[in-house]
């Protein structure tokens, strides 16, 4: 059935979509925003302190029964439903699934780790080739430099921090001669609007050990208000953070940080429980006409719009384009990249009280980030920060993260939890796989969702260079653990069993060349001039940082472009 035409339809009210929807609405554009999940209110999460509901049963994340996804390691293997998300109970670990459904999307359940990519990250491919030689990248690599520079993105990074609310302490403020704690921070026009969060109890031990080892610890920036911000409360450090919604709206979730201003303009309509299944096009295929979606009662609705913005996450964006037949150059779904966490857990000599505070109440070091790693080991292509994870651990999560040699049942299991739970502390890093011709997503030829739509199939394995990066950082973590005096420690393997980390990117790469990329730097489709496909899927390379602040900066770029505001570009313009 038809629905009244609108100026712009935005699919997905998540980390990026909510920004575009709200910015356009505030700019006078009539916007309809569809989301598969509910439109959340403040009241919904007041009593979110529930590990069964949000962690064990994944109350706000997609499940394989409604949003199936398959995976295979190589392109000759048979794909199965994601084997790592589901334990014996058939439930999912929300850390290794696509992000939450509903307004706010992944920014509801995220841990709130905020990073600007450093300047060199935007030239990762060139720097690797310059420093390590043309043959350093693996065979079949499809890595590219970014078509924009850090300088181009800096104003938008700033906007994310000041519009949405990020807590942190800048180290490299333009015009200030005294550098801060992080000597490798890229220049910033001003500091964060709020000071860093209070550190988790055992974070001090990590920071001190790093200092003694000659590293350069600094406070991690957080998408969590450390003090009242634009009517939202400061963080209460309740310790139910990653995987959970926030009960006091301190977390920078776009349903509270972005959507309210759009809704106040009177130009934004949110339709929740609506599942877009097709982008409709003109006969010549060069323009989109709107979308078809299933409404809350399962009826198909056709919604016409002058412009369509697809902001459903890197995975669903690619699936929806492919299912809609928008893939003239064959590039949609290619260049899949994700993170391995190199997760490292240990026991502190004294109580760590790991149930207190968010995981980002933490400290990090950048001594081994990006190209800096080459000075230590030139066989490692690209490094990443090592980040402390001092809190936000509930008992069930720890019971599932015990070392492999710990008892699984009986008195030994009970005593392990009794003796060790309050001494848990962790650190991690995030190394991205190098995209190759064998890391991609496409439509599964067999698996369908309950609406009969084809499921997404991932093809992804960890390559040798990927594993080397994880191993190098694990080595550094072992050194830090020893200096910290940890009593015991255990770690993830260099080729973890998951291939989806809630940090997926690259699947609709941006670039200037319509033959080798899917969208331009503003997220505009090369194939359909009034279609925008935005989010981490735009990234042409990937780095040791959480993707969200960067994809939100890009969302502001898209919004400005759609509102005909100027953009200042320092590099290129004619291909990568």
């Amino acid at each position: 059935m038809p629905s009244k035409k609108t100026d712009v339809v935005v699919l997905g009210a998540g980390a990026a979509g909510a920004i575009v929807a709200s910015e356009l609405a505030q700019g006078g554009v009539k916007v309809v925003c569809l989301d598969k999940g509910p439109h959340y209110s403040d009241e919904d999460f007041r009593l979110k302190h529930d590990e069964i509901r949000y962690y064990a049963r994944g109350a706000i994340v997609p499940h394989m029964s409604t949003d199936p996804m398959t995976w295979r390691e190589g392109n000759k293997d048979a794909a199965t439903l994601l084997p790592w998300v589901s334990g014996p109970l058939g439930t999912a670990n929300p850390l290794h699934l696509a992000p939450s459904l509903g307004t706010g999307g992944g920014s509801i359940h995220w841990g709130g780790a905020c990073w600007r990519f450093r300047e060199s990250e935007f030239r990762m491919k060139s720097i690797i080739e310059e420093r390590l030689g043309k043959k350093a990248l693996p065979e079949g690599s499809t890595l590219e430099d970014w078509p924009i520079s850090y300088q181009d993105l800096e104003p938008y990074y700033d906007r994310v921090e000041w519009e949405l609310g990020i807590s942190g302490r800048g180290s490299n403020l333009v015009g200030e001669p005294q550098p801060g704690d992080n000597p490798w921070e890229a220049p910033r026009r001003r500091d964060y609007p709020m000071p860093p969060l209070r550190q988790g109890p055992a974070d001090h031990r990590f920071a001190d050990a790093c200092s003694r080892l000659g590293f350069h610890p600094f406070r991690t920036a957080a998408a969590i208000a450390s003090e009242p911000f634009k009517g939202r409360s400061g963080c209460t450090y309740c310790g139910y953070c990653h995987g959970y919604p926030c009960h006091v709206n301190a977390k920078t979730s776009t349903h509270v940080a972005a959507l309210p201003a759009g809704l106040a303009s009177g130009n934004l309509e949110i339709r929740d429980f609506c599942r877009a299944y097709k982008i409709n096009r003109s006969n010549d295929g060069r323009r989109v006409l709107g979308v078809s979606y299933y409404d809350p009662l399962g009826r198909s609705v056709d919604l016409e719009a002058d412009q369509v913005v697809v902001a459903c996450y890197a995975l669903e964006n690619a699936r929806l384009m492919l299912a809609s037949g928008i893939n003239r150059n064959g590039q949609v779904g290619k260049n899949y990249m994700t993170h391995a966490f190199g997760f490292f857990m240990g026991l502190t000599p004294e109580s760590s009280n790991p149930f207190m505070g968010p995981l980002v109440a933490s400290t990090a070091i950048e001594d081994f980030s990006g190209e800096l790693v080459h000075d230590y080991d030139p066989t490692v292509l690209w490094g990443a920060p090592i980040i402390s994870w001092p809190g936000d651990f509930q008992p069930l999560e720890i019971a599932q993260a015990m070392p492999g040699n710990a008892p699984k049942w009986g008195a030994g299991f009970r005593d392990w939890m009794r003796d060790n739970y309050t001494r848990i502390w962790a650190m991690y890093s995030q190394t991205a796989n190098i995209p190759t011709q064998e890391t991609y997503v496409d439509l599964d030829p067999h698996q369908k969702d309950k609406y009969g739509q084809p499921a997404l199939r991932m093809t992804h394995g960890w390559g040798e260079v990927d594993k080397r990066g994880v191993e190098f950082l694990l080595k550094q973590k072992r050194k830090i653990a020893q200096e910290m005096g940890l009593l015991a420690s255990w770690e993830e393997t260099t080729a973890p069993e998951y291939h989806l980390s809630t940090h997926e990117v690259g699947t609709h790469r941006m670039g200037d060349d319509p033959a080798t990329s899917v969208v331009d730097i503003f997220g505009r489709s090369h194939e359909c001039e009034n279609l925008f496909v935005i989010g981490g899927g735009q990234f042409p390379g990937y780095h040791g940082y959480n993707p969200t602040q960067t994809l939100q900066a890009l969302a502001y770029m898209t919004s400005d472009h759609m509102l005909d505001r100027p953009f200042h570009r320092s590099v290129g313009g004619n291909g990568n």
Partner: protein, 226 residues
């Protein structure tokens, strides 16, 4: 009924799916997975079986057949091996059964992720894989799946909020030193070395009771004594 002191449904003995014998068997298995040690209550005292019973009558109805068929098969196994029901075996014999069917306490199988994950485990069972059978015709694969499910459910039921039926009197949380559902923690409480056992344990019921009179968040986000 006295509304001032409503009956405490957290202590209910009623069952919503399992029959009495099944519940007693599940309780006995759960107690082997997390046994009491005198000072600390185990799965029985925590009411884990009530968590499991409500889970399979509500959220995980797909696992009902795993329980029903698994329990039936366990009885056959115990009758065959020990000429007695599981609940009537000694704790040592029960541990041996768990070792045999689930795996050793330590160094046993890593958690296995069977195929066909979104589906309840029993459907997988029925899809063509007849499983490994012991000479007596016991379906050991079914029993292994059953024990993996009970193990996960037991851990959940031991550490869940008491509203879910398990973790009664916060037995599990008190054992490990988890203060439960707290609105927040102050700077003083987050100081390294703070003895968190001083913090009174709270449940979701406690938090809901306090909603009418929400705490001032300032006490949590300010650093206090600076």
């Amino acid at each position: 009924m006295n509304l001032q002191n409503p009956p405490n449904s957290g202590d209910s003995l009623a069952l919503t799916y399992l029959n009495d014998f099944e519940a007693r068997t599940v309780e006995a298995i759960a107690e082997r997975i997390i046994p009491a040690d005198g000072a600390a209550g185990g799965a029985t005292q925590a009411g884990v079986v009530y968590y499991i019973d409500r889970a399979i009558s509500g959220f995980s109805t797909g696992l009902q057949r795993v329980y029903r068929l698994g329990l039936r098969e366990l009885e056959r196994f115990c009758k065959q091996e020990h000429s007695a029901s599981f609940v009537d075996l000694t704790a040592q014999q029960q541990d041996d059964v768990v070792r045999r069917l689930y795996g050793k306490e330590t160094g046993g199988d890593e958690t296995v992720h069977p195929e066909g994950l979104a589906r309840p485990a029993m459907e997988r069972q029925e899809q063509g894989n007849e499983g490994s059978e012991s000479p007596g015709g016991i379906n050991l694969e079914l029993l292994h799946t059953f024990f993996m499910v009970v193990r996960e459910h037991t851990v959940e039921g031991y550490f869940c909020d008491p509203i879910y039926g398990g973790n009664r009197d916060a037995v599990g949380w008190r054992l490990v030193g988890f203060p439960g559902a707290q609105w927040g923690y102050t700077a003083e409480q987050m100081r390294p070395g703070f003895d968190a056992t001083q913090i009174p344990t709270k449940t979701l019921s406690d938090l809901r009771r306090e909603l009418k009179n929400l705490p001032n968040n300032e006490q949590f986000y300010t650093d206090g004594e600076k």
